[in-house]
Amino acid sequence: MENLEAQIIRRILEGDVNRFGYFVDIYAPKVFSLISRIVPVREDAEELTQDALMKALRALPEFSMGSSFATWIYRIAYNVALSHCRRASRREVAVDEAQLRAVSDENVDALLDSPEDVRIKCLPEALDMLSPTELALVTLYYYEGVPLKEVAAVMDMSEANAKVRLMRTRKKLYVLIEKIYKKYE
């Protein structure tokens, strides 16, 4: 936690809510970026971003000064997006455990390391079929570049668990890409 952020938080807690504009300026684009990847509808993503920031402001007294504000606000944004997806009954495709076990890491790496492979064109559609948790995981890790330890903190799981979930998500993407490709073949 930077000293400036700690000072601003103290001022907000003293009643100067206008200071929260500092956090909105810095973190709203990050929060929106995460939420819009999970809920890719502009109006919904914008409303959920507002909800997440409002929840952060209300929960500010519970924020522990020693921890990272970015991780904390990402966690709120992730939970807001997750609740929205539960309410909206978002479409997600389950993949058999046996299918995942049958895929080796080498296969996944070989596919995802080959931009010229025609199957890669199916990646956006495969991403659409991931669960909100899986989408949040790959967005935070691959797109936002958040270290795995912080991703785990955002998603309230151990680092080892986050690593396993990430590997499973990559395998799931592989299985989904294969399915989609076969469908169009």
Binding site: G15, P40, L53, D109, L112
Partner: protein
Amino acid sequence: MNKHDDILREAIGRRGAGLSLPPDFTLGFMARVRKEERRRRRIGVIWSILGIAVALMSVVVVCIVYCRDAFSDIMLSFRDMSAWDSPIMGMAVPVIVGVGVLLVFDTLIRARISAKSEKRQ
């Protein structure tokens, strides 16, 4: 950085491509924050006033109930008089007026403090 990191990053980036917050997002959001803060304070003041009123009314009721025993002799001597001249009403009226005056002062003081803190922001 592996190649698949780039491929995944690009695909995830394309997923939300074209979606961005409006330039006046912070202004709009902070206006909402200020509005909610004012509403929250107003509700807080209303609850405080209600709390004080209930507490004072309880004190009045307790006083009346206990004083009725203490002043039963006086009540008996005044029983022929009209209700407005009875000792209970004689005691209750100034108490109620006092409570009213206190509540008005309380509201004025709270409104002043609230106005001052909003001006400071």
